[in-house]
Amino acid sequence: MTPEEWTAVRLSLLVAVTATAASLPFGIAIAWLLARGRFWGKSLLDTIVHLPLIVPPVVTGYLLLISFGRRGPIGMFLEQTFGIVLSFRWTGAALACAVMGFPLMVRAIRLSIEAVDTKLESAAGTLGANPLWVFATITLPLCLPGVIAGAILCFAKSMGEFGATITFVSNIPGETQTLPSAIYTFTQVPGGDAGALRLTLVSIAISMAALLGSEFLARRIGARRVAT
């Protein structure tokens, strides 16, 4: 593999890990709200979360571009207030991946929170745990397999994200050229087949490793307890 290809692999891993790690707290919070909350506009929130799943990725990327780009309202605010620039940076790629992977993550976590018996939560409440402690000591440990599944889904999605990323942050080698973008670039040049194939194999290997890792983790947690 050429140094450029290694760079693409490293960048993809960095983008995917960042996207997953950064969106996980929000994913858990939104999943909890959707699973347990009763508030006005819940179905609206549900729809917004799922939007990246149903609209074309290019549309998501374009929406990110006009809102998080340097001239976009949020992008301008971030640059002026915190000095953060997302467009055409790897952080922007991470944002695009996080947005695209978010619905998958929230779905998995939400389902596993809904599977946690609320009776156990109220029992913890009568034992003196406030709602935050109930979540931390009862709900979260019991829905951990779902959290792991959600994180892996988000990671896998991030590794493969192409449309939104290339629309939002383009395809700059060493900065925003992730694995799929690099493969795409190889297919556009004569004699790029070998490089495309190498990266394809790397991509498959990483995805399988992630899947096997999640299976292993889920089994370990499952072995420690059997839900009643």
């Binding site: 109220s122 409440g125 009568t126």
Partner: protein, 352 residues
């Protein structure tokens, strides 16, 4: 502890409108399923916010809708033993037991003594295990310990034995008795079982269709509450044990009673529950009969119930109810004041 409840709550087509005050000790909330027992307990625990009313435990107001007070469940210090134990499946028995204690310590309250609670409930050998490997009876004992270690000011037990078979019940009841006698925590005990209530309670609150129909000491209320049969509660003391015939002799105001051998030591107070249907009456002292227990008394009152009648006897100050046919009342010419002999066919003798 005193418990002062006055709540009004509507749940769909069901309306709970209950008001009672209970003195210290074990208060049984008694009634058929659907009478509103669980709703009432959930209101006391803070799992349900009542539409109107107040709940006061030992002078501390937990709910008062009039004054806008609603203490959330995690600040009530009301222990709750659920019918379905609700142990945390991802924690060991020890971690389950310590769960509530940790929060009690955090809020500055004195915590229950782990070793003595474990000993009291006989769960020392279970500590390292996980809830799914426990039997139903063991689960309930752990659940009781967990609630107890949170140092509650009031312990709620919502039919803790309902999901268990007869053998498991017999296994747990003595622990609850020890709890009542040794732990000193007031208990609100929900049940629809007459024998459990007779055995455990000091005060009975009868709930019917969402309203309180009777409140009072167990001996006064239980005979009224047992709508099917009726029965009477007699307090007695173990006088001695007969090893040959495996019997225990009890002495009570009403007279001596012989029952299948009890586990209680000599001198222990016991409480007997005698169903009205299990009492026959005779004008003369019966001879050559198989029943061991015959009590002498006079008829205090006769309440006709169609083809049958409830006869209330005064046995040296203790009340005993008998249900016989109206035909027998007429045949024996039973009238208030007439001395009779009551033949007790069967007794459920329970330690008290």
């Amino acid at each position: 502890m005193s418990l002062d409840v006055d709540v009004h709550h509507t749940l769909g087509s069901f309306t709970l409108d209950a008001r009672f005050t209970a003195p210290p000790g074990v208060t049984a909330l008694f009634g058929r399923s659907g009478a509103g027992k669980s709703t009432l307990v959930n209101i006391v625990a803070g799992l349900i916010r009542p539409d109107r009313g107040r709940v006061i435990v030992d002078g501390t107001t937990l709910v008062d809708t009039g004054r806008g007070i609603f203490v959330p469940k995690h600040r009530r210090r009301v222990g709750y033993v659920f019918q379905d134990s609700r142990l945390f499946p991802h924690l060991t028995v020890r971690q389950n037991l310590l769960y509530g204690r940790w929060f009690a310590n955090k809020s500055g309250g004195a915590s229950g003594d782990f070793a003595s609670v474990v000993e009291l409930l006989g769960i020392g050998t279970l500590l390292a295990r996980r809830p799914e490997s426990l039997s139903g009876g063991e689960k309930q004992r752990v659940a009781i310990g967990r609630a107890l270690l949170a140092k509650p000011r009031l312990l709620l037990m919502d039919e803790p034995l309902a999901s268990l078979d007869e053998a498991r019940r017999a296994e747990i009841l003595p622990y609850i008795e020890r709890l009542r006698d040794e732990a000193g925590v007031p208990i609100l005990y929900v049940s629809h079982s007459i024998s459990e209530v007779a055995r455990l309670a000091t005060t009975v609150v009868v709930l019917g269709n969402g309203t309180v129909t009777a409140v009072g000491p167990v001996a006064d209320i239980l005979p009224l509450a047992d709508a099917d049969d009726g029965g009477s509660v007699i307090d007695a003391v173990v006088a001695r044990h007969d090893e040959v015939f495996q019997l225990s002799m009890l002495s009570s105001r009403a007279g001596d009673l012989q029952v299948p051998k009890l586990a209680a030591p000599v001198g222990a107070p016991v409480r007997a529950y005698i169903r009205s249907r299990d009492v026959m009456l005779s004008l003369t002292p019966p001879q050559d009969i198989s029943a061991l227990n015959v009590l002498a008394g006079t008829i205090a009152a006769i309440t006709p119930r169609g083809a049958q009648a409830d006869i209330r006897l005064d046995c040296n100050g203790a009340a005993l109810l008998a249900r016989i046919t109206s035909k027998s009342v007429e045949r024996l010419a039973l009238v208030p004041g007439r001395p009779v002999h009551a033949i007790v066919k069967s007794v459920s003798f329970e330690r008290s």
